[in-house]
Symmetry: C2
Subunit: 446 residues, 2 copies
């Protein structure tokens, strides 16, 4: 869509952006017409960290701001106040998502939506979600500061309940907006609260929950800045990751059943040791995952032994196998190899091994034009970038159902996340915020 009459606001930017087409990994920096205030961004991330900080802790002690907790409510209040001060007229939708809007020159165009979340896992870090949320605010303020108005309306969002701690992932704010909700979902109970009460607590309106759904095409595109949560960018010394897509996740619940018996009186040859079977399977998962090239991962993260006593041969071992890749076909193939190996292990250990598929999420691809816009934006800032999958789930996954989607990653020191040790250097936070702003402007031209 071209609206020549409105392009005046972007002339200086467009001219600059047209100049050197990004080739290779590093180009000279070009001026952006606006920059996100890096000092304010840092101060706000530090201020937000107070809500859910361990008592007597410091910023380095991380945060527990689980969705629907009092800390979450306080953090949301702080964010809403910032949005008010920025003149964004924030509003909370029936699902508890916080939206702020800046008008475009053509209000008939669908908005460019961008943001992230501020809820955390228990004992989480201060960058996961917070950076993308506060950088979105910073980007809107930066445009206001230079009085630069885009063609498309711009909308920032702070999604509710991204981490899926409360009620699992079923009530993520972005999932509801994507239409994956039904009124009966509100009856579930967590921590003594119904989902309806939880949504009410954060200012949502469970009675109108279906009104939170947006339709396909509701946005021009969706953008999200996020910390990588892995160590690839830091290790390779690249400041910007361009997400190719969010991986598919296949999860299996596996039960190995042997026979619990006295650890002193049962000869080795007579044993049916469920933990021995589970140990072989845990190693098999690793070996099979490692045996194929690619960036897929596989994890046995949970293992519960019954009866779990030093002097009793384990009778039952329950474990989870989680596989992630952009290719669903690869995941199916890996799972099939693991099952075949499990059958051999069951035979060798005289235990039975049962698989149940407990989760399958399809991959969500980032739009190629958005990936290219991110690369151009990074290039204009003189920042090298690298395409990569996102191994973690994000709100962008849901938003990919409604419009083209793209994500910007910035380096996580040592790849640590969901931990108080989670860290992204302040200069990388600032770079990411500017790449987000630049991408908004790039996409506004599309």
């Amino acid at each position: 869509m071209s609206h020549p009459s409105r392009r005046v606001f972007l002339t200086s930017l467009a001219t600059a952006a047209m100049a050197p087409v990004v080739r290779g990994r590093r180009v000279l920096a070009q001026n952006l017409p606006a920059r996100v205030d890096a000092t304010a961004l840092r101060q706000r991330i530090e201020a937000l960290s107070m809500f859910g900080r361990p008592s007597a802790g410091t910023f380095a002690d991380g945060v527990s701001r689980v969705a629907y907790s009092d800390a979450d409510v306080a953090g949301r209040r702080y964010s809403i106040d910032l949005m008010h001060a920025a003149g964004l007229d924030p509003r909370v939708d029936p699902a508890g998502n916080i939206f702020g809007r800046r008008a475009g020159t053509d209000e008939s165009l669908p908005p460019i939506l961008f943001g992230s979340h501020i809820d955390s896992v228990p004992n989480g870090g201060n960058f996961d979600g917070d950076l993308g949320s506060l950088a979105a605010l910073g980007a809107l303020e930066a445009l206001a500061a230079v009085n630069l108005r885009t063609r498309h309306p711009l909308e920032m969002v702070i999604w509710s309940a991204e981490e899926g701690v409360a009620f699992g992932r079923g009530l993520n704010g972005s999932r509801i907006v994507a239409g994956d909700v039904k009124p009966a979902d509100l009856d579930a109970v967590w921590n003594g609260m119904t989902r309806a009460d939880a949504i009410r607590k954060i200012g949502g309106d469970p009675g109108r929950i279906m009104d939170a759904i947006r339709s396909r095409g509701a946005h021009h595109c969706y953008l999200e800045l996020h910390i990588e949560q892995g160590g690839t960018l830091e290790r390779e010394g690249i400041p910007v990751g361009v997400v190719e897509g969010i991986v598919s996740i296949d999860r299996y619940d596996v039960t190995a059943t042997g026979f619990a018996n006295h650890a002193g009186t049962t000869p080795m040859a007579d044993r049916q040791d469920a933990l021995l079977a589970a140990s072989h399977l845990t190693i098999a998962v690793r070996q099979i995952v490692d045996s194929e090239p690619g960036r897929h991962v596989g994890t046995v993260g949970r293992l519960d032994v019954t009866p779990n006593a030093p002097n009793v041969i384990p009778g039952v071992a329950q474990l989870t196998i989680e596989l992630r890749d952009l290719s669903s076909e690869k995941l199916t193939r890996l799972a099939e190899r693991i099952r075949l190996r499990a059958a051999e292990i069951a035979r060798d250990t005289k235990a039975s091994i049962e698989f149940t598929s407990s989760n399958h999420s399809a991959p969500a691809n980032a739009a190629l034009d958005v990936q290219e816009a991110i690369e151009r934006s990074a290039g204009r800032l003189g920042l090298a970038s690298q395409r990569m999958p996102s191994g973690a789930g994000h709100d962008a996954q849901m938003m990919a159902q409604l419009s083209p989607m793209g994500m910007i990653f910035v380096p996580s020191v040592r790849g640590v996340s969901h931990s108080p040790l989670e860290l992204t250097r302040w200069e990388d936070c600032a770079r990411g915020a500017d790449v987000l702003l630049g991408t908004v402007l790039e996409m506004d031209r599309a």
Copy 2:
């Protein structure tokens, strides 16, 4: 010690016993001068099973008669009543052990002590301990029925708190009698009870706890009939096991420490997966134990993963390694091999592995002359017997510190114990009781 003037009571027995020396595994049955009432034994085992039986359960549903519970108190009351009826003048010592005595012809001789326990593990079976306790009573009744008096006084015992569920094994009644107790031990708390209160609840006298201690040489010998709890006797079709000793147990607490991280964003090559290390170690324990000939066993019975979530790489895995054998040297050698292998695993998986020795119990050997007495007793009944180690701990382990000790095992169907499925056939119970009686008489001659 020889007391010719008193041997008259045993003449008929002695004559019979002298005749065919037991060679090989099967000999013709010789008459015992007395036999345990098998019907009464069965009825009493069934009656005792009522105390701690699951509500609406049957005998086959097992028993939960944990020491110091109301069920334990009721089961003890039932047993004491039986002993009263048998004219044994039962008394409860300060530790809560129940003793009953039948005078010998020479009361200056130390008594032959025999018995077992009636407390159970939670969801245990109806033979572990119960058989040996009620068979001891049956043996004394059998001698009374034929008016056969031994030279040595005979003493039966029902030990308190053998299973070590309450307060661990530290307050076993037999352990106290062996002298391993100090007054401060009584202050520990379990289930809201102090040890002192617990002992008081079962009729003991914590204020006089040190008076329960018996001295070395207090008994002529100690005998215990018990179910095997393993499957060797049943599989080999041999009705009587002659215990060579109670194994040494070495237990290690092992902690594998990796690094907890996001299961989606951490490439396989960057992982330090504590569960992967623990899995390799679990398999190594099995392989090393299997690699040496012998009847030693090794078990990883407990494994706890932190944080134990499907989407987090395990950061810590804590496990127990338990090794059992009659030879302490073999256990030390096996542990050393396991440690060496653990160091390799730590290197390969980039996790650290720390060992802490959490328990070492020395082996308790059965006296050779008692083993031979059991073999003669079995032989006179026409029962094949086999020497074997006891992989499980027993009160006999403590009593071995005070006098020569011997144990008689009878077959456990499918080797199941500490389970409602625990089963010893009634004919094997009766055979075991008669072997016990015969061994008492054999030892009386020694």
